[in-house]
C-alpha cells in the first residue's frame, strides 16, 4: 500500500476513505427502483380506479383509500414490532391496498376491508419475510379469506350508477349473462367488485405495464388464452367469460406479481396457462362463479416446482434441470390439478338434486300437514317443474322443483285454498343453493310473503327478493307460479281437472257427450232385429243381445271410470273380433275416451286388450280409457262363455 495509512470508515460493503470511496464494481446503476416500479403499477391501476368511481360512486374511492391507508399502517406497525427496517417507502403496501380494494364490492363495510388489509399485509406478506419472500398473492389470499368469512358482505354487489338507492344485483357470472350486453360487459356497466368490471380500463392499464416492461406479456396472454380456449371447448360464451369475474384484473395485475410467479419466461407461460385452465374448470364444474382467485392461489403454490422445471441452461454451462426436475414437478402438477378438479366436481354432483319421480311419502305427509286433511295424489303429466299435485277436502298442494342459482333445483310445496289462494309455501330442500347466500332465502320473512296471494306473481312487484340472492329468490317465485298453474289445471295442455268433485262441464274437454241407453243404439248396430240373451256372464255385464242372423252379439257392460261408472255397449262378431264399442253413459271429466281414437283401436281385433300394450290410452284420460278397455275385455269374456 506504499506505506500510506489513511483513516477509513466502514459502511457495509463500502470503505470510505478520507477522500475517495472504494467499492466493488459495477459503479453505476440503472435508474430503476422498486419504488418506481410500484409507481408504474399504480399508474396502470388508475384507469380502473377512475372507472370504479364513475360506475359505483365516490364510495369506491373511500373503500380504496381505506384499504391503502390500513395496508400502509399495518406494514409500518408490523415492521416496527418485528424490529425490522421501515419499508413503506417502496410503495408496495399501497399497491397491495389498491389491488385488495379492487377485489371488494363497493358496499363492503370499511372494517371488513381493514381486516382484508391485515390478512394481506401482515399474515401473507410480513410474516413470511416481507416483500419478495411471500409465496401467496396477498390481495388474492385476502379476498378468499374475506369471501369465506363474510360471504354475505362480499357478494353484495350493486348495479352501476345506482348511487344512493343502490339496487342489489348479481354479477353476470351468476345469472348466466342473460341480462348483460357485451358492450356493458366491456365497459363495466354491471354488478361486480370495484376494479374488476371495466374491461377497457384494465386492458389499458395492462398494456401500459407491458410497454413499461414492468410485466412480461407471457403470463397475461397465457392466462387469457387458456381461459378463452377452455370456454370455447365448454361452449360457454368465451368473450363473456373473458370480460367478467375479475379475469382481466387477475391476468394483468395479480398473476404477474413478482414474488409469487415464476422467473423464466417459459415458467411464466406455464403459470398463466395453469391459471386460465383452473379458472375455467372451477367456473364450469363447480358452484362458485368465481374461479380466478382460487386458480391464482393454487398456481402460486406450484411456482417453486415450475421454477425448478423451467430452469435455463446457462451459456456454456451444464443443464440446470435433469429428468428428475421435470418429471417430479409435472407429476405433482397433474396430481394436484386432478385432485382439485375431482373435489370440486364431486361436491357439485353430490349436492345436485336428482329429479323426483312420483311423490314421496315425505312430500305427501308434508302436504297433509299443510292442508290439515288427508291428501290423494292426482295423476297426470306435468311440466318439468311440477312433480305432482295432491288434493284434499281443504284444497290442493303442489310439489314443485324450480331451478334456482346456477342450475340447482329447490324442492318446495305450495298449499292452496279451494279458491287457489296460497295458504303456505314450504321449502323442503334448498341445499343446492349457495350456503350463506342462497340458502338463507328459506326464511319466514321471504316465504311468508306468498300467503294470501294468488295468481301469477312478479318478483319485485308482488314479492320482494332477497338481497344478493336474486337467482334463488326468483327460482322460488317461479316455483310458486308453476304450482298455481298446476293446481288450476292450466298446464302443458293437460286438461284433467282435479279441482272439483263434480263433473264441471266448463273445464271439460271440447267434445260433447250425449247419454243414451242401449235401446237407442241397438237398432243401429243389430240392424235386422235382435233379441235379448242371457248366460253366465261376468257381473259387470248387465245385459246381452244377439242379432237375428246370430252374427253379432252386443253386451252392456258397467265398469269403473275415474269419477263414476262407465256404461258401454260392446258389440262382437261371431268370430270373436270386436265390431263396435260405444259408450252409453259416463260421468268422466273428459269425453275424449268415448271417441274414435280410442274406440276405433278395438275394432277388428280379438283381444284381450291391455292399456299400454296394445291399446293407447287417451292422454289425460288414462283411467277412463282403462275402464273402457276393461269393458271390452269383459264383453269378450262373456261372448266366450256363450260358445261353451
Amino acid at each position: 500500500m506504499s506505506g500510506v495509512n489513511v483513516p477509513a470508515e466502514r459502511k457495509g460493503m463500502t470503505v470510505i476513505l478520507e477522500k475517495l470511496i472504494v467499492s466493488a464494481s459495477p459503479h453505476i446503476r440503472s435508474s430503476n427502483s422498486t419504488q418506481k416500479i410500484m409507481l408504474d403499477v399504480l399508474i396502470g391501476l388508475s384507469p380502473a380506479l377512475i372507472a370504479s368511481v364513475i360506475l359505483f360512486g365516490y364510495r369506491a374511492l373511500i373503500v380504496t383509500l381505506t384499504c391503502v391507508v390500513s395496508s400502509v399502517v399495518f406494514e409500518y406497525l408490523c415492521r416496527k414490532i418485528m424490529k425490522r427496517d421501515n419499508t413503506i417507502a417502496d410503495l408496495s403496501a399501497v399497491v397491495t391496498g389498491v389491488l385488495l380494494a379492487f377485489n371488494l364490492p363497493v358496499t363492503i363495510p370499511l372494517w371488513i376491508a381493514c381486516i382484508g388489509s391485515f390478512v394481506a399485509i401482515v399474515v401473507v406478506k410480513q410474516l413470511f419475510g416481507g416483500i419478495g419472500q411471500n409465496f401467496a398473492n396477498p390481495a388474492i389470499t385476502a379476498r378468499i379469506v374475506l369471501l369465506i368469512s363474510f360471504s354475505g358482505h362480499m357478494t353484495k354487489w350493486v348495479s352501476p350508477f345506482s348511487g344512493a338507492d343502490a339496487v342489489t344485483s348479481p354479477t353476470p357470472l351468476s345469472t348466466g349473462f342473460t341480462d348483460v350486453s357485451l358492450l356493458d360487459l366491456v365497459t363495466g356497466v354491471h354488478g361486480g367488485c370495484l376494479g374488476e368490471t371495466c374491461a377497457i380500463a384494465l386492458i389499458l392499464g395492462g398494456v401500459y405495464l407491458m410497454i413499461r416492461r414492468v410485466i412480461d406479456f407471457s403470463t397475461p396472454l397465457a392466462f387469457i388464452g387458456a381461459a378463452f380456449l377452455w370456454a370455447v371447448i365448454f361452449d360457454a360464451e368465451p368473450l363473456y367469460q373473458l370480460f367478467s369475474g375479475g379475469l382481466l384484473l387477475g391476468a394483468f395485475f395479480m398473476a404477474t406479481d413478482y414474488s409469487t410467479s415464476p422467473i423464466t419466461r417459459l415458467g411464466k407461460v406455464i403459470f398463466g396457462l395453469g391459471c386460465g385452465t383452473v379458472t375455467m374448470f372451477i367456473r364450469h364444474f363447480g358452484s362458485y362463479p368465481e374461479g380466478v382467485s382460487f386458480a391464482i392461489l393454487f398456481m402460486n403454490i406450484l411456482v417453486p416446482y415450475i421454477d425448478r422445471a423451467t430452469a435455463l441452461k446457462p451459456f456454456g454451462g451444464k443443464k440446470m434441470r435433469v429428468a428428475r426436475d421435470i418429471v417430479k414437478p409435472t407429476v405433482t402438477l397433474i396430481v394436484i390439478v386432478m385432485c382439485i378438479s375431482a373435489a370440486v366436481v364431486g361436491t357439485y354432483n353430490l349436492t345436485k338434486e336428482e329429479s323426483t319421480g312420483s311423490l314421496s311419502q315425505e312430500v305427501l305427509s308434508a302436504a297433509e300437514e299443510m292442508l290439515g286433511a288427508p291428501v290423494s295424489e292426482v295423476p297426470g303429466t306435468y311440466g318439468e317443474t311440477v312433480n305432482g299435485v295432491m288434493t284434499s277436502e281443504n284444497g290442493k298442494a303442489v310439489s314443485v322443483s324450480p331451478v334456482g342459482y346456477s342450475g340447482g333445483k329447490i324442492e318446495m310445496l305450495v298449499a292452496f285454498d279451494p279458491d287457489y289462494v296460497i295458504r303456505e309455501v314450504r321449502i323442503l330442500d334448498i341445499s343446492t343453493q349457495t350456503p350463506g347466500i342462497g340458502q338463507p332465502v328459506d326464511s319466514p320473512e321471504f316465504t311468508g310473503q306468498f300467503v294470501g296471494k294468488s295468481g301469477n306473481l312478479t318478483a319485485g312487484t308482488d314479492v320482494d327478493i332477497v338481497t344478493g340472492a336474486t337467482a334463488t329468490s326468483k327460482g322460488i317465485i317461479n316455483g310458486v307460479n308453476a304450482a298455481s298453474a298446476a293446481a288450476q289445471g292450466i298446464l302443458d295442455g293437460d286438461s284433467s281437472d282435479s279441482s272439483s268433485e263434480e263433473p264441471d262441464t266448463t273445464a271439460s274437454a271440447t267434445s260433447s257427450f250425449v247419454e243414451q241407453s242401449a235401446e237407442d243404439v241397438l237398432p243401429g248396430l243389430l240392424k235386422d232385429g235382435y233379441a235379448e240373451i242371457s248366460g253366465q256372464f261376468p257381473a259387470e255385464v248387465e245385459a246381452a243381445w244377439k242379432s237375428a242372423d246370430e252374427m253379432l252379439y252386443s253386451f252392456s257392460v258397467r265398469t269403473q271410470g275415474y269419477w263414476g261408472d262407465i256404461v258401454s255397449l260392446i258389440t262382437i262378431h261371431a268370430d270373436g273380433s270386436v265390431a263396435d264399442v260405444t259408450v252409453l253413459a259416463q260421468g268422466e271429466s273428459s269425453a275424449k275416451f268415448t271417441e274414435e281414437p280410442l274406440t276405433g283401436q278395438f275394432t277388428g281385433k280379438n283381444g284381450p286388450f291391455t292399456v299400454g300394450e296394445n291399446i293407447d290410452a287417451v292422454a289425460g284420460a288414462t283411467v277412463s280409457s282403462t275402464g273402457l278397455t276393461q269393458a271390452v275385455n269383459l264383453a269378450l269374456e262373456a261372448f266366450a262363455s256363450l260358445a261353451e
Binding site: M1, S2, G3, V4, V6, G12, M13, T14, L17, K19, L20, I21, V22, S23, A24, S25, P26, H27, I28, R29, S30, N32, S33, T34, K36, I37, T87, D90, S92, G130, I131, G132, Q133, Y258, S259, I263, T264, A311, L312, K313, P314, F315, G316, G317, K318, M320
Partner: protein, 438 residues
C-alpha cells in the same frame, strides 16, 4: 468483402454510452518528473527488477523479468535514474516491487531497441515476448502465451476485440481511427505466422466511423472480416464476442483456443505491429480520461508508470473534488484510493466522479423481479446465488454454476433494489475456490 451483422447476441444491458472523448485526437502526455513502474502489470508471474537504485535507464530498456513460463518482461518508459525500489501492492492484492525512476526528460532510447527479425512461428512468439505485450483491453493476459498455442489445437479464427462496450472509454475507438494500418498489418502478421485462416474485427455499432474506415481498409482482403456488434453491454466480453462473431459456445472450464478461436484487443494487435516496425516495446498506451470531475476530458498517450495525478493534471486538473476514481470503466473498473497510483500496461481509462455521480443508492429487499436473470449474458441466476452465498451453501453454489459468472456487473446494474449481486458472485466464487482447494 461481405459484412456479417452480429445477430447472435447474448443478453445484457443497454447503457448510456457517454463517449464524450471519441472525437478528440489523442494527445501525448508530457514526461512526468518521476515514474513508478510496478513489477507486476499482468496476469502473470511477478517480475524481478533488473536494475537497482542509482542505475541509469533508457527508454525501452528491460528493467524487470523473471524466469517463469508466465512471465512478461517490463521495460522502462523513460530515460533517467533509478531512485528506489519500493514495495508495492497492486489493487488486486499482489505484492511486488516498483521501480521508481527520476526522469531526465530526454527520452533517450535504449541501444538494444531494434525491429525484431521474424522468420517463423517460433521467432514470432519470441518477438512477442520481448515486446512486453499484454492484453491492453483491460485483462492484461500475456500476449505471447495466448498466441503460443499447442500444435495439436487447430485455430482457425482470430477475433479482434474492438467492441469497447463500457461507457466513457474511447481508447479502442481512437486506435481504429488513428492507426488503421498498424491494425491491419498486425492482424496479417498474426494470421501469417500462426497459420490462422481468418480474422474477424468486432466493432460496436456506436462507432460507425470506425466500422466504415475498417471496411474500406479491408475491402480487398478476403481473410479479414468486419463484424458490426449491437451496442449491448457486455459485447466486449470474450465469450460474448466469440458467440456474436462466430456462433461458437465456449463451454465452462475451457478456454477459447480449445474452440479454435483467439481473441485479441485491437490496441494489442496494433501496438504489436508498432513493435514489429520500430522495435520499441510496450512503454506507453492510450488512456481515456473522463468523468464529471475532469477539467478537459481527452484521450492521452500515457507513459507507463505515470501517476493518476500526473494524468489528471495533463487533462485540466480537477474541476471539482472527486469522490470516486476508477481505473477502467464504470462497470468493471476498480476504485482506487490513492491518486499516486501509477498507470500500468492494462489500464485503459481513468474516470473521476463527484459525489453525486458516485452515489450508489442504498440496498433494499429483493422483490424477486427476475431482472437479474434476464440480463445475465451467461444465463445464471444472481438472486439464487446471493441466497446460496448468504447461507454458505457450497453445493447450491456449484449447482447454480457460479463459476460461469463473467463479473460483468449487469445484474447489479439492473437490480431495482440496488442489491450488490455481482459482488456477491465474486465472493461466492472465492468461497468455492477456497473450499475445493482443500
Amino acid at each position: 468483402m461481405a459484412i456479417v451483422k452480429g445477430k447472435r447476441s447474448l443478453p445484457g444491458v443497454r447503457l448510456a454510452h457517454r463517449k464524450n472523448t471519441q472525437g478528440f485526437q489523442t494527445q501525448a502526455m508530457p514526461v512526468p518528473d518521476t515514474v513508478k513502474i510496478p513489477m507486476c502489470q499482468h496476469m502473470g508471474a511477478v517480475c524481478q527488477p533488473l536494475v537497482k537504485p542509482g542505475d541509469t535507464v533508457y527508454v525501452g530498456q528491460k528493467i524487470g523479468e523473471v524466469d517463469h513460463p508466465r512471465c512478461v518482461p517490463i521495460h522502462s518508459s523513460v530515460s533517467g535514474t533509478v531512485t528506489a525500489l519500493e514495495d508495492y501492492t497492486t489493487y488486486s492484492g499482489v505484492v511486488c516491487k516498483a521501480v521508481v525512476i527520476q526522469t531526465d526528460q530526454q527520452q533517450t532510447p535504449d541501444p538494444s531497441v531494434a525491429p525484431p527479425v521474424l522468420t517463423d512461428k517460433a521467432s514470432f512468439i519470441r518477438a512477442v515476448y520481448e515486446s512486453g505485450m499484454v492484453g491492453l483491453g483491460g485483462a492484461g493476459f500475456p500476449t505471447h502465451l495466448k498466441l503460443n498455442f499447442q500444435e495439436d489445437l487447430h485455430v482457425d479464427a482470430l477475433i479482434i476485440n474492438g467492441a469497447e462496450c463500457e461507457p466513457y472509454i474511447t481508447a479502442d475507438h481512437r486506435e481504429f481511427l488513428e492507426h488503421p494500418e498498424d491494425i491491419v498489418e498486425g492482424i496479417q502478421k498474426v494470421l501469417h505466422y500462426l497459420g490462422i485462416a481468418k480474422a474477424y474485427i468486432g466493432i460496436e455499432t456506436n462507432k460507425p466511423d470506425a466500422i466504415r474506415l475498417m471496411q474500406e481498409r479491408t475491402a480487398s482482403l478476403p481473410d479479414i472480416q468486419i463484424i458490426p456488434l449491437c451496442s449491448v453491454y457486455p459485447q466486449g466480453a470474450e465469450k460474448v464476442l466469440i458467440y456474436a462473431a462466430t456462433g461458437r459456445v465456449i463451454e465452462a472450464g475451457t478456454i477459447p483456443v480449445q474452440a479454435g478461436v483467439i481473441v485479441m484487443n485491437v490496441c494489442t494487435v496494433s501496438q504489436l505491429n508498432r513493435y514489429f516496425r520500430t522495435g520499441m516495446p510496450l512503454i506507453s498506451r492510450r488512456v481515456t480520461v473522463d468523468g464529471d470531475c475532469i477539467g478537459q476530458p481527452k484521450n492521452a498517450e500515457v507513459l507507463i508508470g505515470s501517476s493518476i495525478q500526473d494524468v489528471v493534471d495533463f487533462c485540466g486538473g480537477f474541476r471539482q473534488e472527486p469522490k470516486k476514481v476508477l481505473m477502467g470503466g464504470p462497470m468493471m473498473g476498480v476504485a482506487v484510493y490513492d491518486l499516486h497510483t501509477p498507470i500500468i500496461k492494462n489500464n485503459n481509462a481513468i474516470l473521476c466522479f463527484s459525489e453525486e455521480a458516485a452515489r450508489i443508492p442504498q440496498e433494499t429487499a429483493c422483490i424477486r423481479c427476475g431482472k437479474c436473470s434476464q440480463v445475465c449474458p451467461v444465463g445464471i441466476m444472481p438472486r439464487a446465488l446471493e441466497k446460496a452465498y448468504d447461507a454458505q451453501n457450497l453445493d447450491e453454489l456449484e449447482r447454480l454454476q457460479v463459476n460461469l459468472c463473467l463479473n460483468c456487473g449487469c445484474c447489479s446494474y439492473i437490480c431495482p433494489a440496488k442489491r450488490n449481486l455481482a459482488q456477491k458472485n465474486q465472493l461466492a466464487k472465492m468461497l468455492l475456490r477456497a473450499n475445493t482447494k482443500r
